[in-house]
Symmetry: C2
Subunit: 323 residues, 2 copies
């Protein structure tokens, strides 16, 4: 199962979306046009528009409103990535220089603000206040989730409850938004809206757990992130939370190593072994599986269709993916 | 005339606003609460809520909706300042350490995003879609204006038309928004909305011209910005644009000095003298005065009242202020 199998039912819609999206992004500022062209040359995986379109299909069909919804989430997502690159001082994105590297921080922050307001304005102009409410709430949750995750005073006694709060706000909220506004664009049936929101929320949580597991697996170099990256940033995620709880005798020692910082290869290996030996990976994988099952269950109300199959496949893909 | 004379008619409203605003900003994230408390301890001049309240008064009276409007612009303004401090690597704001200096860039960017979405969400929750439309459009204009102003390819041949486009988008749009949504909160009379929007737009332009003049006056150390700061950043503003046009023989030489960058005291003095000698300051002052008169004219439709007097006084204050 690959992403292109999953997007097969909406292949034409995604193609139409690409030109629709590019057309929306034209302004009177030449520097801005230049940068926007630079951004849109390298298309991302368009996971978020895909979620919007599949959800809309499931609820009756894709229409003009679905295109507004898809643009809104893609603009928002792009804005977030550009701001993230500033914050993380990242030099590359999608194989080309990041905006902050190619231009500078100031321009990157402004482009992010522009894309965000552009998305919100598109919704306002199309009187899509429902989209706006759902999306603004997600933006707020995303910033709260990020802030909660870097709240130092709580960092080393992070428990499962707080972990799930963080990833639900930080990651799942935007995926839930995509599914929810896709549904909103196609039907006024609130049972369907709720079903797709639930689907997105649970898939989003599973997605982030899987991402956090990658940090402990040598295979994870495939996703372009070196192993132990989260640990170096003192970021404690589910596999470690479980292992620490499962082996309280050694937990103080492990926390001390992480707290000290500047981890060497040997120390990272020690922590990874600790996590694996104490069942952290298995536990996180089983948890991810539970959320995937919840996601699938949420869309049980819909009858069988190619788009439903795609959403079910996407849920499996999220935990089965190797990168 | 001081700001506290101008705010006299709405003194109680501003006081009520302070506690209303603080109450809105409480979250489940303890780090966030800590930082928000830090931000709200040092109140700014609250120019933007003042504009909202005076406009609402002029259009019939301050009500609950006016408080939502005032919070929205204050949240937005605060978010912008925090992002600006990241971009400019500023260490201080309102006499205390900036968020990026006290915490770090990541937290500052996230707090900015949080405040922005919080403001938009407040409008959504109160079904204030009119506020939202006006405000989102302003955010888009502000980022476009900033980008236009740093568009290198156009920097040295900046003409008056482009200068006014930049300051109108960058500065005037938010002040116009304050007046417009203050009016929206109090009346459905669209003639009044338009009048106050015009007032705000023109006052905002005059305000920015005055700010740009300060960069050429030794007195301007009062506003905490050293003289010649814009020049060091290769920012060409109205006084210089006029002087260059007025003395084309010397203009190439002056542009060459600015282009080269790393300006020394002696060079800054040379440019300032050039601007003064060629009538740049006088011209900019006369232009500012024209916009102030336009602003006053815009609110001619209202009969006399203490709040109208305050708005007229504010227009004068904008150009007469010494800091």
């Amino acid at each position: 199962m690959t992403l292109s199998d999953i997007t097969a039912p909406i292949k034409d819609n995604l193609k139409e979306f690409d030109s629709y999206f590019d057309k929306q992004l034209s302004t009177k500022v030449s520097l801005l046009n230049l940068i926007l062209k630079y951004i849109t040359t390298k298309k991302g995986k368009r996971v978020r528009p895909t979620m919007v379109f599949l959800s809309a299909r499931l609820c009756g069909g894709i229409n003009d409103r679905s295109f507004v919804a898809a643009s809104l989430v893609e603009l928002l997502h792009t804005a977030t990535l550009i701001h993230d690159d500033v914050v993380d001082e990242a030099d590359e994105r999608r194989g080309i220089a990041s905006i902050n590297a190619r231009w500078n921080n100031k321009i990157a922050v402004l482009i992010g603000d522009f894309l965000l307001s552009k998305g919100l304005l598109m919704s306002v102009e199309n009187k899509e206040f429902g989209f706006l409410e759902v999306t603004t709430r997600a933006v707020k949750r995303m910033s709260e989730g990020e802030l909660l995750s870097i709240d130092k005073s709580k960092r080393y006694d992070l428990d499962e409850e707080r972990y799930f709060q963080v990833i639900s706000d930080k990651t799942a909220s935007l995926i839930a938004t995509c599914c929810q506004i896709g549904a909103l664009s196609a039907t006024s049936n609130s049972e369907m809206h709720k079903a797709l929101q639930d689907y997105g929320e649970n898939v989003g949580i599973a997605f982030q757990i899987r991402d956090d597991i990658f940090d402990y697996l040598s295979k994870s170099t495939l996703i372009g992130k070196p192993v132990g990256n989260d640990l170096k940033e003192k970021k404690i995620t589910l596999p470690l939370i479980y292992a620490l709880k499962n082996n309280p005798q050694e937990s103080d020692k492990i926390i001390k190593i992480i707290k000290r910082g500047k981890l060497q290869k040997k120390e990272i290996k020690e922590i990874i072994d600790f996590v694996v030996d104490n069942g952290g990976i298995d536990y996180a994988e089983s948890k991810a599986k539970i959320f995937v099952d919840k996601a699938k269950l949420a869309i049980n109300i819909f009858s069988e269709s190619p788009e439903k199959k795609s959403l079910l496949d996407f849920a499996n893909f999220v935990v089965d993916r190797k990168s």
